[in-house]
Amino acid sequence: MAKKVALLQGNEACAQGALYAGCTFFGGYPITPSTEVAEVLSVELPKIGGKFIQMEDEIAAMASVIGASLTGAKAITATSGPGVSLKQELIGYACIAEVPCVIINVMRGGPSTGMPTGPGQSDVMQAMWGTHGDHAAIALVPDSCQEIFSETVRAFNLAEKYRMPVQVLYDEIVGHMRERIEFPEPGELEVFDREAPGVGPEDYKPYDSTKGQVPPLAAFGSEYKYHVTGLNKADDGFPTTKASLVDAEERRQIDKVLDNIADIESYEEYLTEDADVVIWAYGSTSRSARYAVNELRKEGIKAGLFRPITLWPFPEKRTAELAKQAKAIVVAEMNLGQMVLEVERVAKGNCVVVHEGRVDGDPLNPGQIMTKVKEVL
């Protein structure tokens, strides 16, 4: 049977991806350019008995998502830069309390209110370092409507599997543009459901890592009673200031991501095998870069594209290899120099690393990238 197809906006595809993943709760606050995610879910969630709530502010939206997730629901919120800034407090809470949830950031420009209807990619460092304290982060950066669908599904899988907040960042261009998407059949994409506690209520400890780096999370309102706090805690969930316990928990929460990079990492390469210049780009900018690569190849310039789909944890290994192979890496992103800092760090001087940015509300176009590539060669 032919698959269901539709012309969908990126934001609509995101909502559909969430439903495919089994999401039953959305808590949000209206903000451009992300509102279509909320609008679609306000229609669709009640149809499946799920819940949609528009909260009083961005912080409350994040709080409601964490609260819902603790009852066992797959929960999501969608926002943009100013909202993500407000949510940072509770993104940190979800990190330390290890509560699965998905945060969609449809990136616009600016600090502050910036340019609400213009695209940007300037929240990418915030996705890693926005909330205070040491923590791991997972951030995914799809570049098409189809990929927004599948990466939203993957975001839920990773959130549930690693028991942590996962962010999906795409810029306004991809969020608002429409492309044909094919709806995957049920079962076609992996859907990971939260692991059930392996022990009975009497023996349950919400942070007992003796059987694995990610302890199973019981649901509130089931047979399990336990405590959740934003304080440093011991394996039983209760606050502790005992140095060895605090240290072990903090490290475990980071290691659960760093030790599983092979599972979390995702990237795409295009014509990098013989590339003299690798364009390192993500989200809508990678589409400009692909266009640029094709044009440059026509001119005899050996250009290639490296496109991270998982942006955090940073694709260190492959970026380092490319730095050894290529003469130069051009990092193209709609900001004034963010991921380029990471690329420079892992390139370790093995090749020239330059940045091509743009923050005026217009997309970073192929011509700009081509000019930069020619400059660097």
Binding site: M55, E56, F220, G230
Partner: protein, 272 residues
């Protein structure tokens, strides 16, 4: 026979962090008695708090307990209740937590009239951080950040809750322990947002600075200033000067409860 509080308390979690003379323990006991009276299944009860001395309360109780971030209890609790409306949801916390940093969540939880019981311990001060003034510190009083007397006007929490749309609002004090559980019971039984404001004492950071020589003095003041709402009806404005009303201050059983309203949304969406 002494009341069995221990079955409600998590083993090994006492002693609590509260100072001698603090009223939070009285409130906790009242909450335990109220939950017992209502026969709340603790497995199906979420107790949610923010940050501060009062917000440590859930950690001692054997239930699904959620100690959140500063001010955010009502917002987390809303997520819990929306996702699982069959759960009993109780919030607790202090005045600064609930009405300053958490003020927005507090009023909107009241507005939605979502079914939960919020026990707000108002001890006029930020105790945990060392006694800074809160939105409930009486004007003129001393706090660590009002060395010349507090210039701020105060929030009347109960009036705020009524104005914001809560459908059950009651007030008592830590000096009226029996009334605490009676009011919490009514709050739990009420279908909608119930605010139970308990005027509480903080001998360490408020009493000490404001010339209360002992906890007894503070309790005496609570008793002196509390006027049951029925008694107040017979008193003049002059007689009520410097007093506050206690008992059930407001009750509305007509306004729809939020999760029930959302159940109607689900029915509509499913074409029923």
């Amino acid at each position: 026979m002494a009341y069995d509080y221990e079955k409600s308390i998590r083993p090994g979690k006492l002693p609590h962090i509260w100072c001698p003379g603090c009223g939070h323990g009285i409130v906790m006991k009242g909450l335990i008695r109220a939950m017992d009276t209502c026969e709340l299944d603790r497995k199906n009860t979420a107790i949610v708090s923010g940050i501060g001395c009062a917000s440590r309360l859930p950690g001692y109780l054997d239930a699904c307990t959620l100690h959140t971030a500063h001010g955010r209890a009502a917002a987390f609790a809303t997520g819990v209740k929306m996702a699982k409306p069959e759960m009993n949801v109780i919030c607790c916390g202090g005045d600064g937590d609930g009405t300053a940093i958490g003020g927005n969540h507090f009023i909107h939880a009241c507005r939605r009239n979502i079914d939960m019981t919020y026990v707000l311990m108002n001890n006029y001060i930020y105790g945990m951080t060392g006694g800074q003034f809160s939105p409930c510190t009486p004007t003129g009083d001393l706090a660590s950040t009002t060395p010349y007397g507090n210039p701020d006007p105060i929030f009347d929490i109960s009036k705020l809750a009524i104005g914001a749309g809560a459908t059950f609002v009651a007030r008592t004090t830590a000096a009226h322990p029996r009334e605490i559980d009676k009011l919490i019971v009514k709050g739990i039984q009420h279908k909608g947002m119930a605010i139970i404001e308990v005027i509480d004492d903080c001998p360490t950071t408020y009493g000490r600075r404001n010339k209360f020589r002992s906890v007894i003095d503070m309790m005496k003041r609570l008793k002196a200033e509390a006027v049951p709402i029925k008694a107040a009806a017979k008193m003049t404005a002059e007689q009520l000067e410097g007093k506050f009303l206690t008992g059930v201050l407001f009750e509305d059983t007509e306004k729809p409860e939020y999760t029930a309203q959302y159940a109607n949304v689900i029915k509509k969406a499913q074409g029923a």
